[in-house]
C-alpha cells in the first residue's frame, strides 16, 4: 500500500515538475508585464510590432521557426528565466495561435529554451524575411 502511495506521489511530482506545464494565470501575468506593452493585450501588434494572434503557430512548422520564437530579442534577452520563458511562449501559442498551431505541436521545455536563447538574433528583420519565405515555400 505504501509503495502505491509513494509511486502515486512520485508520478504527481514528476508531472508537475515538467517545464511544459502551463500555469495560465502566471503566464498571462508575465505576458502582461514583459510582452503586452508592445504586442498589445490581444496580441494584435501594430506597425513594426508583428502580429501574434492567429499567426504565431506558423513558425512551428519549421525547426528554424521554432528556434526563431526563442531567439528574437524580446524572448532571448528577457528578464524571465528559462522555465518562465518556456511557459509564456507555450501560453502565447495556445492562447493566440488559433488555427496556425500545427497538429504535431509539442510545447517548449525549459532545457530547450535555455539552449536556444544562448544564440540571440542580431539581424532580426532580415532573418524574419528569409524565414517567412521558407515558410511560404514549405506550404506549397
Amino acid at each position: 500500500m505504501i509503495k502505491v502511495v509513494v509511486a502515486a506521489l512520485l508520478s504527481v511530482f514528476v508531472l508537475t515538475a515538467g517545464a511544459e506545464e502551463v500555469n495560465a494565470q502566471r503566464a498571462h501575468y508575465n505576458y502582461m508585464l514583459y510582452c503586452q506593452g508592445c504586442h498589445t493585450p490581444e496580441g494584435l501588434g501594430i506597425d513594426s510590432v508583428p502580429r501574434i494572434k492567429g499567426h504565431v503557430g506558423n513558425f512551428l512548422r519549421l525547426q528554424e521557426g521554432r528556434e526563431y520564437l526563442v531567439r528574437v530579442p524580446g524572448s532571448a534577452g528577457s528578464v524571465l528565466n528559462d522555465a518562465q520563458l518556456a511557459e509564456v511562449l507555450n501560453w502565447m501559442i495556445l492562447e493566440y495561435g488559433e488555427d496556425s498551431i500545427p497538429a504535431d505541436f509539442h510545447p517548449y521545455t525549459e532545457t530547450e529554451v535555455a539552449q536556444l536563447r544562448q544564440d540571440p538574433l542580431l539581424e532580426v528583420e532580415d532573418h524574419r524575411r528569409r524565414l517567412m519565405e521558407q515558410l511560404r515555400n514549405s506550404k506549397e
Binding site: 508585464l33 503586452q36 506593452g37 501594430i46 510590432v49 524580446g74 528578464v79
Partner: protein
C-alpha cells in the same frame, strides 16, 4: 348616482376594515429603511463593483501620490481634461505602452498598470509627476519610462499619461 355612492361607500368601508390607520406609516417606513439597507447587502456591493478585477480605490487621482501613479513619469491626464483611464479630447491613446505594477493601499494587492500615453498635442504642462518606482535604464527599453511611448500613434508628440489597471499581479511563491 346611487350606484357611485354605493360603490365608493363599499370600497371605503372595505379599506377601513382591512387596514389599520397606521399601516400607511408602517409601509412607508418599511420602504425607507429597505431602500437604505439594500446597498449594504453583499449582492448589491458585488454588482456595484462590476468587474471583479477592478480594485476598490481611494485617494485623489489629481495628485502624484495616488496609488496608480507609482511608476509614472509625465503629466497626469487627469489634470489635462482627461482622466486616469481616458485621454483628453483631441489626443490619441498610444497602443504601445510601458507596464508596471503598483500596490493598492485599500486591499493591499498589486495590480498591473499600463501607462498609456496620450499623443498628438503639445505637452500638457499640468501635474508633472515623477515617481519612477521600478523604472530601469533605457537599455531595458520595455521597463524604461524615459523614452517617448507615443508609438503606433499618428503623432509622436507627447501630451500626458494615463494609468490604466489591466490586471492583477500574481504574487511570487
Amino acid at each position: 348616482m346611487n350606484f357611485f355612492d354605493r360603490f365608493f361607500e363599499q370600497r371605503s368601508r372595505h379599506l377601513a376594515r382591512s387596514t389599520s390607520r397606521r399601516s400607511m406609516l408602517k409601509r412607508l417606513g418599511g420602504v425607507l429603511v429597505g431602500s437604505a439597507a439594500i446597498p449594504l447587502l453583499p449582492v448589491a456591493r458585488a454588482a456595484d463593483n462590476g468587474n471583479a478585477k477592478m480594485p476598490r480605490e481611494e485617494g485623489d487621482p489629481g495628485s502624484c501620490d495616488y496609488w496608480r501613479y507609482c511608476a509614472i513619469d509625465g503629466f497626469l491626464c487627469h489634470c489635462c481634461g482627461g482622466t486616469y483611464n481616458t485621454c483628453p479630447p483631441g489626443t490619441e491613446m498610444s497602443p504601445i505602452t510601458w507596464i508596471g505594477t503598483c500596490r493598492n493601499p485599500v486591499d493591499g494587492r498589486n495590480y498591473v498598470i499600463s501607462y498609456n500615453d496620450c499623443c498628438g498635442k503639445t505637452s500638457c504642462g499640468a501635474c508633472l509627476c515623477m515617481r519612477d518606482e521600478g523604472d530601469r535604464p533605457v537599455y531595458r527599453a520595455d521597463k524604461s519610462n524615459d523614452i517617448n511611448w507615443c508609438l503606433g500613434t499618428e503623432s509622436a508628440i507627447y501630451h500626458c499619461s494615463t494609468a490604466i489597471v489591466v490586471g492583477v499581479a500574481v504574487e511570487k511563491e
